[in-house]
Amino acid sequence: MKYLRPTLILTFCLLAVTAQAQDRYLTRAGHIKFFSTAPLEDIEAHNYKALSIVDLSKGQIAVNLLIKAFEFEKKLMQEHFNENYMESAKYPKSTYQGNFEVPDGLKAMEDGTYELDVTGEMLIHGIKKEVATKATLKVEGGKLSGEVFLKVKVDDYGIKIPKVVVRNIAEEIEVTGIFEYDPYK
């Protein structure tokens, strides 16, 4: 009996720490897809190594990726993307940091699909811009996953498309992010 009180206190402390730790979710294998559709061709690339962290206590999401990790079907296209447009040797990373209101159900990790309005800053090609977008976080059996879709105007980020390929590359690129999170302790 004399050990009951300290045991209970310790249990509550552990529960509190666990609850705090489970507010944060991480993936190191986020999938970012970019798609450009233009009169002459469609271009698609995939990055399967994006890092993303969601903090449900603060309503924050962060995505961080290396530009050179985008894989194209054609090697030449990948080289042009890195060398001519994204200048990835000079600007190797792209980041997004956003904030959102956390619905109570999501905070409690109740099963469901939660539509969120996310506002934040995106860094591409060394240029930071305010970006507001819709995102979805889904809870299923205690697992958290997320999906975001946005359109990025290449001109907004100082990415110059030479006139000779202007019919090959869209002015606005569709970017989709798909994340399967694990608890981050």
Binding site: R28, H46, Y48, K49, L51, N64, L65, L66, K68, A69, E71, K75, L76, E79, H80, A89, P92, K93
Partner: protein, 142 residues
């Protein structure tokens, strides 16, 4: 004489234009097999250099061809993606080497977990705890 001179000029212009188009639009980077590494480094040390000071490690390694020696943590092959070999580093971190091209599943199966490999590739950078290497090839055991 004039015609001959014009013909030579035209040939030179065509050759220069052809070279320009090939150089700027058609030439691909040489395969990793033909490149030499700037550094040969242990996977644990490489990741620890990035963890200690990412900025300094970026200056040294980013966009450089390097050879990484390390123990295999996992080999991942997913359809439609390039295979990935992860080398052990400190803690949860890994040195994640994406291969330059597809290789047969028999070749991948030959790579045993916990065996020591040397891979050559281009250091792409660091994300939180992982070092990412692109265009990798296995050079030892060859």
């Amino acid at each position: 004489m004039n015609k001959k001179r014009l013909l030579i000029i035209a040939i030179v212009i065509a050759a220069v234009a052809g070279y320009f188009v090939w150089d700027k639009m058609l030439r691909t980077a040489p395969s990793m097999k033909r490149l030499t590494a700037e550094y040969r480094v242990n996977a644990v040390d490489l990741q620890s250099e990035f963890t200690d000071n990412e900025e300094v490690a970026n200056v040294k390694y980013q966009n450089q061809i390097i050879e990484v020696v390390g123990e295999v943590e996992s080999v991942e092959a997913t359809e439609g993606r390039l295979p990935v070999i992860k080398l052990k580093a400190d803690g949860f971190g890994v040195v994640e080497c994406t291969l330059e091209s597809q290789i047969s599943s028999e070749e991948l199966e030959k790579i045993k977990l916990n065996s020591t490999l040397v891979l050559r590739g281009e250091c792409q950078g660091f994300l939180m705890i992982d070092v990412q290497i692109g265009r990798s090839i296995v050079i030892e055991p060859s």
